[in-house]
Symmetry: C2
Subunit: 230 residues, 2 copies
């Protein structure tokens, strides 16, 4: 009577999905992609219906997201989406520059030919995704994967963890901001240039370009912050 689920039969699984982890993933995606308004209070009963889960797994997911920094939790008064502030974005962007350049230089030390291959592959996938702008989620996935691959061999799990966390925070701003075709084109080109600099082992140039890349993205992401007229 018990039908084995696909995930459980997969090799090296062990990661059977629970309702809590599924709604965590879904909520995380929706928070980063800006499906909720900044500052909005989340009505738990609404979420319950929307994601079609019970209270317990939903609350567990919300608690995880709050600990991760994608939600604010206030005792006895529920959860709300963090506001967007230019000041916080600056903090996030500057830390991204420092952390990712740090990780990149370490990746150069440890990264081997396999790394170069993976990076080329990721860059190619991203390039293809660039050409199909209609499938936004696919592009986001390829983009994230490229940046992860770039820093993967850095050898510091905790640094990568923090970088990922900052990346998620940053993307919340970026994805809410209006696009800028000119900057976007330049950003897309930088991915290819980055990969080339890695292949040529140009450590300093790669680091400089990565910093510039984050700075340019920041310029776009800024657009998500409310401009208070002076």
């Amino acid at each position: 009577m018990t039908i084995p689920k696909a995930a459980e039969t997969m090799p090296g699984a062990g990661t059977g999905e629970t309702a809590a982890s599924q709604v965590f993933d879904a909520l995380k995606r929706d928070l980063i992609s800006g499906r909720f308004a900044a500052g909005e209070k989340l009505a738990i009963s609404t979420l319950k219906h929307h994601y079609a889960v019970g209270l317990s797994p939903l609350r567990e997911a919300l608690n995880r997201l709050a600990a991760y920094g994608l939600l604010e939790q206030h005792n006895q008064r529920g959860f709300r989406v963090p506001p967007l502030a230019a000041e916080e974005l600056e903090d996030i962007a500057r830390l991204r520059m420092r952390f990712e350049c740090m990780a990149l230089s370490q990746a150069f030390e440890a990264g081997d030919a396999e790394w170069e291959s993976q990076l080329l592959a990721a860059q190619h996938r991203l390039l293809k995704a660039d050409e199909e702008p209609q499938d936004l989620e696919h592009w986001e996935q390829a983009h994230l994967r490229f940046h992860r691959t770039l820093l993967a061999p850095c050898g510091s799990p905790w640094l990568l963890r923090f970088i990922g966390q900052l990346h998620d925070q940053f993307d919340r701003y970026r994805r809410l901001a209006p696009g800028d075709t000119v900057i976007r084109t330049r950003l897309d080109a930088q991915h290819g240039e980055l990969a080339q600099l890695v292949l040529n082992r140009r450590i300093q140039d790669a680091s400089d370009l990565l910093e510039e890349h984050i700075r340019l993205s920041w310029e776009i992401a800024r657009g998500a912050c409310v401009d208070r007229p002076g």
Copy 2:
């Protein structure tokens, strides 16, 4: 019939404690102070009795702690205490050095006379705590407060958040390791020296000393890792 709780009548409360947040704090303390064995699987029903709470708040606390990095969560097979590994400790210690030196130099830029006063006060409290080694929890609290005060004006909430997280991770190792009177004495002295260097605005010296301080603590914390005989 409803008797108002103390917390609610306190000025500026708004932070009414929930069962979940209380058991979160208690569990976090116990995890960092090494009350559970590394790698141990947590029996939820046991915790339930020990902390005298229901399942829901307990599970919410566990979920938060897992997202924070003080627990490992495996779908369908509960929570376990992360193992202690010399390799991870090295990662944590090296990042602490970089992050905290980073924060310190920024603190020098932004910190004013009020900062200096707070730091002196914190150093004095820590000094008094040094003299009463029997009250370990009190010393830990004063110690944490000193280090927080030292970096507080750095102006980067996210950097401070990560530093705090790494500090918690580090302390789990340190508090499990056997003490070393000689090193401990030197470490205690360094707190006073650090405060003095801040007062004298010796940026580079303070940064060097902070790095050395973390390196020395690391030397102690290492003792928590199992030595595999070769």
